[in-house]
Amino acid sequence: MTGTSTETRSVVVERDIAFPPETLWRALTQPHLIEAWLMKNDFVPVVGHRFDFRADWGSVACQVLQLEPNKTLAYSWGAMGLESTVTWTLTPTGTGTHLRMEQTGFRPDQQQAYHGAQYGWPRFFAALEQLLGREPS
Protein backbone atom coordinates (compact mmCIF):
# COMPACT_ATOMS: atom_id res chain seq x y z
CA MET A 1 0.00 0.00 0.00
CA THR A 2 2.48 2.59 -1.10
CA GLY A 3 0.48 4.05 -3.96
CA THR A 4 0.42 7.72 -4.69
CA SER A 5 -2.47 10.05 -4.00
CA THR A 6 -3.40 10.14 -7.67
CA GLU A 7 -4.38 6.49 -7.99
CA THR A 8 -8.04 6.21 -8.96
CA ARG A 9 -10.20 3.36 -7.80
CA SER A 10 -13.85 2.51 -8.22
CA VAL A 11 -16.69 0.74 -6.49
CA VAL A 12 -19.49 -0.60 -8.67
CA VAL A 13 -22.78 -1.92 -7.30
CA GLU A 14 -25.42 -3.09 -9.76
CA ARG A 15 -28.84 -4.56 -9.28
CA ASP A 16 -31.94 -5.39 -11.31
CA ILE A 17 -34.83 -3.55 -9.72
CA ALA A 18 -38.44 -4.56 -10.31
CA PHE A 19 -39.61 -0.98 -10.85
CA PRO A 20 -39.55 1.31 -13.89
CA PRO A 21 -36.86 4.01 -14.24
CA GLU A 22 -39.41 6.76 -13.51
CA THR A 23 -40.16 5.37 -10.04
CA LEU A 24 -36.49 4.81 -9.33
CA TRP A 25 -35.68 8.33 -10.49
CA ARG A 26 -38.04 9.78 -7.89
CA ALA A 27 -36.34 7.76 -5.16
CA LEU A 28 -32.96 9.05 -6.36
CA THR A 29 -33.90 12.72 -6.68
CA GLN A 30 -36.63 13.67 -4.17
CA PRO A 31 -35.09 14.70 -0.84
CA HIS A 32 -37.67 13.04 1.42
CA LEU A 33 -37.40 9.82 -0.58
CA ILE A 34 -33.57 9.96 -0.68
CA GLU A 35 -33.65 10.32 3.09
CA ALA A 36 -35.68 7.12 3.38
CA TRP A 37 -32.92 4.95 1.93
CA LEU A 38 -29.71 6.98 2.04
CA MET A 39 -29.34 10.02 4.30
CA LYS A 40 -30.85 13.36 5.23
CA ASN A 41 -30.06 15.85 2.49
CA ASP A 42 -30.85 19.15 0.79
CA PHE A 43 -30.62 17.76 -2.72
CA VAL A 44 -32.06 19.79 -5.61
CA PRO A 45 -32.04 18.22 -9.09
CA VAL A 46 -30.07 21.06 -10.72
CA VAL A 47 -26.58 20.71 -12.17
CA GLY A 48 -24.15 22.73 -10.08
CA HIS A 49 -26.29 22.62 -6.93
CA ARG A 50 -24.23 22.00 -3.80
CA PHE A 51 -25.78 19.89 -1.07
CA ASP A 52 -24.91 17.75 1.93
CA PHE A 53 -25.81 14.30 3.06
CA ARG A 54 -26.00 14.24 6.83
CA ALA A 55 -25.78 11.30 9.18
CA ASP A 56 -25.02 10.84 12.86
CA TRP A 57 -21.39 10.07 11.98
CA GLY A 58 -20.86 13.24 9.96
CA SER A 59 -21.71 14.70 6.60
CA VAL A 60 -20.86 14.27 2.94
CA ALA A 61 -20.28 17.36 0.80
CA CYS A 62 -21.75 16.98 -2.67
CA GLN A 63 -22.41 18.85 -5.89
CA VAL A 64 -24.69 17.77 -8.73
CA LEU A 65 -22.50 17.14 -11.76
CA GLN A 66 -24.76 15.50 -14.28
CA LEU A 67 -28.49 15.04 -14.61
CA GLU A 68 -30.52 13.34 -17.30
CA PRO A 69 -33.99 12.47 -15.98
CA ASN A 70 -34.74 8.75 -15.70
CA LYS A 71 -31.30 7.92 -17.13
CA THR A 72 -28.31 9.22 -15.25
CA LEU A 73 -27.39 11.22 -12.18
CA ALA A 74 -23.90 12.09 -10.94
CA TYR A 75 -22.71 14.02 -7.92
CA SER A 76 -19.41 14.60 -6.22
CA TRP A 77 -19.00 12.88 -2.87
CA GLY A 78 -16.51 14.29 -0.42
CA ALA A 79 -16.23 12.75 3.02
CA MET A 80 -13.52 11.70 5.44
CA GLY A 81 -10.79 12.80 3.08
CA LEU A 82 -12.25 10.88 0.15
CA GLU A 83 -12.85 12.94 -2.98
CA SER A 84 -15.03 10.90 -5.28
CA THR A 85 -17.86 10.96 -7.80
CA VAL A 86 -21.02 8.87 -7.51
CA THR A 87 -22.74 8.11 -10.82
CA TRP A 88 -26.14 6.44 -11.08
CA THR A 89 -27.15 4.87 -14.37
CA LEU A 90 -30.68 3.59 -15.03
CA THR A 91 -31.29 1.23 -17.91
CA PRO A 92 -34.82 -0.02 -18.61
CA THR A 93 -35.21 -3.78 -18.81
CA GLY A 94 -38.20 -5.92 -19.74
CA THR A 95 -39.16 -6.27 -16.08
CA GLY A 96 -37.94 -3.02 -14.55
CA THR A 97 -34.63 -1.23 -14.36
CA HIS A 98 -31.00 -2.19 -14.23
CA LEU A 99 -29.51 0.17 -11.66
CA ARG A 100 -25.79 0.79 -11.63
CA MET A 101 -23.89 2.86 -9.07
CA GLU A 102 -20.25 3.66 -9.68
CA GLN A 103 -18.17 5.56 -7.16
CA THR A 104 -14.83 6.67 -8.50
CA GLY A 105 -12.28 8.41 -6.36
CA PHE A 106 -8.78 8.88 -5.22
CA ARG A 107 -6.97 6.85 -2.69
CA PRO A 108 -6.33 8.98 0.38
CA ASP A 109 -2.92 10.55 0.68
CA GLN A 110 -1.14 10.42 4.00
CA GLN A 111 -3.00 13.28 5.65
CA GLN A 112 -6.33 12.07 4.34
CA ALA A 113 -5.56 8.51 5.36
CA TYR A 114 -5.06 9.80 8.88
CA HIS A 115 -8.56 11.28 8.96
CA GLY A 116 -9.80 8.05 7.43
CA ALA A 117 -8.03 6.10 10.13
CA GLN A 118 -9.76 8.11 12.82
CA TYR A 119 -13.09 7.34 11.23
CA GLY A 120 -12.02 3.78 10.59
CA TRP A 121 -11.22 2.91 14.17
CA PRO A 122 -14.57 1.33 15.08
CA ARG A 123 -14.58 -0.73 11.90
CA PHE A 124 -10.97 -1.58 12.39
CA PHE A 125 -11.57 -3.00 15.83
CA ALA A 126 -14.62 -4.89 14.65
CA ALA A 127 -12.48 -6.45 11.93
CA LEU A 128 -9.78 -7.21 14.43
CA GLU A 129 -12.22 -8.91 16.78
CA GLN A 130 -13.58 -10.98 13.91
CA LEU A 131 -10.09 -12.01 12.91
CA LEU A 132 -9.16 -12.94 16.45
CA GLY A 133 -12.45 -14.78 16.92
CA ARG A 134 -11.64 -17.01 13.98
CA GLU A 135 -8.21 -17.97 15.22
CA PRO A 136 -7.96 -20.88 17.67
CA SER A 137 -6.88 -19.43 21.01
Partner: protein, 107 residues
Protein backbone atom coordinates in the same frame (compact mmCIF):
# COMPACT_ATOMS: atom_id res chain seq x y z
CA UNK B 1 -1.55 -6.44 0.63
CA UNK B 2 -2.17 -9.30 3.06
CA UNK B 3 1.33 -9.09 4.51
CA UNK B 4 0.96 -5.46 5.52
CA UNK B 5 -2.45 -6.26 7.02
CA UNK B 6 -1.16 -9.34 8.86
CA UNK B 7 1.64 -7.33 10.40
CA UNK B 8 -0.72 -4.57 11.53
CA UNK B 9 -3.26 -6.99 12.97
CA UNK B 10 -0.56 -9.00 14.72
CA UNK B 11 1.05 -5.88 16.14
CA UNK B 12 -2.22 -4.43 17.41
CA UNK B 13 -3.64 -7.72 18.71
CA UNK B 14 -1.87 -7.10 22.03
CA UNK B 15 -4.23 -4.95 24.14
CA UNK B 16 -1.45 -3.10 25.99
CA UNK B 17 0.33 -2.29 22.75
CA UNK B 18 -2.93 -1.24 21.13
CA UNK B 19 -3.68 1.05 24.09
CA UNK B 20 -0.28 2.72 23.68
CA UNK B 21 -0.91 3.25 19.97
CA UNK B 22 -4.40 4.64 20.61
CA UNK B 23 -2.99 7.03 23.19
CA UNK B 24 -0.47 8.32 20.65
CA UNK B 25 -3.22 8.69 18.04
CA UNK B 26 -5.39 10.71 20.36
CA UNK B 27 -2.85 12.55 22.47
CA UNK B 28 -0.12 13.29 19.94
CA UNK B 29 3.60 12.98 20.56
CA UNK B 30 4.64 11.65 23.98
CA UNK B 31 7.70 10.36 25.80
CA UNK B 32 8.17 6.82 27.10
CA UNK B 33 7.86 8.20 30.61
CA UNK B 34 4.51 9.83 29.94
CA UNK B 35 3.23 6.68 28.26
CA UNK B 36 4.45 4.49 31.13
CA UNK B 37 2.55 6.60 33.67
CA UNK B 38 -0.71 5.59 31.97
CA UNK B 39 0.12 2.13 30.66
CA UNK B 40 0.01 0.10 33.84
CA UNK B 41 3.20 -1.76 32.89
CA UNK B 42 6.90 -1.06 33.46
CA UNK B 43 8.93 1.37 31.39
CA UNK B 44 11.02 -1.42 29.77
CA UNK B 45 7.77 -3.13 28.78
CA UNK B 46 6.46 0.11 27.23
CA UNK B 47 9.77 0.57 25.40
CA UNK B 48 9.51 -2.96 24.04
CA UNK B 49 5.95 -2.35 22.81
CA UNK B 50 7.05 0.90 21.17
CA UNK B 51 9.84 -0.99 19.41
CA UNK B 52 7.33 -3.47 17.98
CA UNK B 53 4.99 -0.62 16.93
CA UNK B 54 7.92 1.11 15.24
CA UNK B 55 8.87 -2.06 13.33
CA UNK B 56 5.29 -2.26 12.04
CA UNK B 57 5.51 1.35 10.90
CA UNK B 58 2.83 2.46 13.33
CA UNK B 59 4.93 4.92 15.32
CA UNK B 60 7.79 7.30 14.70
CA UNK B 61 10.48 8.12 17.25
CA UNK B 62 12.23 11.45 17.61
CA UNK B 63 15.28 11.50 19.88
CA UNK B 64 15.65 14.73 21.83
CA UNK B 65 18.61 14.72 24.20
CA UNK B 66 18.07 11.95 26.75
CA UNK B 67 14.39 11.67 25.87
CA UNK B 68 12.77 9.97 22.93
CA UNK B 69 9.41 11.27 21.76
CA UNK B 70 7.01 8.90 20.06
CA UNK B 71 4.13 9.73 17.73
CA UNK B 72 1.57 7.74 15.75
CA UNK B 73 2.46 7.61 12.07
CA UNK B 74 -0.18 9.24 9.90
CA UNK B 75 -1.45 6.81 7.32
CA UNK B 76 -0.12 3.71 9.07
CA UNK B 77 -3.55 2.11 9.10
CA UNK B 78 -4.20 2.86 5.44
CA UNK B 79 -3.81 -0.81 4.42
CA UNK B 80 -6.74 -1.64 6.72
CA UNK B 81 -9.07 1.08 5.54
CA UNK B 82 -9.33 0.48 1.83
CA UNK B 83 -12.23 2.82 1.09
CA UNK B 84 -13.47 0.72 -1.83
CA UNK B 85 -14.34 -2.27 0.35
CA UNK B 86 -15.93 0.00 2.96
CA UNK B 87 -18.04 1.81 0.39
CA UNK B 88 -19.06 -1.40 -1.41
CA UNK B 89 -20.64 -2.67 1.82
CA UNK B 90 -22.24 0.73 2.40
CA UNK B 91 -23.85 0.85 -1.06
CA UNK B 92 -25.03 -2.76 -0.96
CA UNK B 93 -26.99 -2.03 2.20
CA UNK B 94 -28.29 1.28 0.74
CA UNK B 95 -29.53 -0.66 -2.31
CA UNK B 96 -31.45 -2.94 0.06
CA UNK B 97 -33.13 0.05 1.70
CA UNK B 98 -33.83 1.60 -1.72
CA UNK B 99 -35.67 -1.54 -2.80
CA UNK B 100 -37.67 -1.51 0.43
CA UNK B 101 -38.61 2.11 -0.20
CA UNK B 102 -39.69 1.37 -3.79
CA UNK B 103 -42.02 -1.34 -2.50
CA UNK B 104 -43.54 1.13 -0.05
CA UNK B 105 -43.90 3.77 -2.79
CA UNK B 106 -45.72 1.23 -4.92
CA UNK B 107 -48.42 0.57 -2.32
Amino acid sequence: MPNAQDLLFRTLADPTRRAIFERLCRGGEQTVGALTAQAGVSQPAVSKHLGVLKLAGLVLDRPDGRQTHYSARAGALAPLIDWTSQMAGFWESRFDDLEDLLKRMDQ
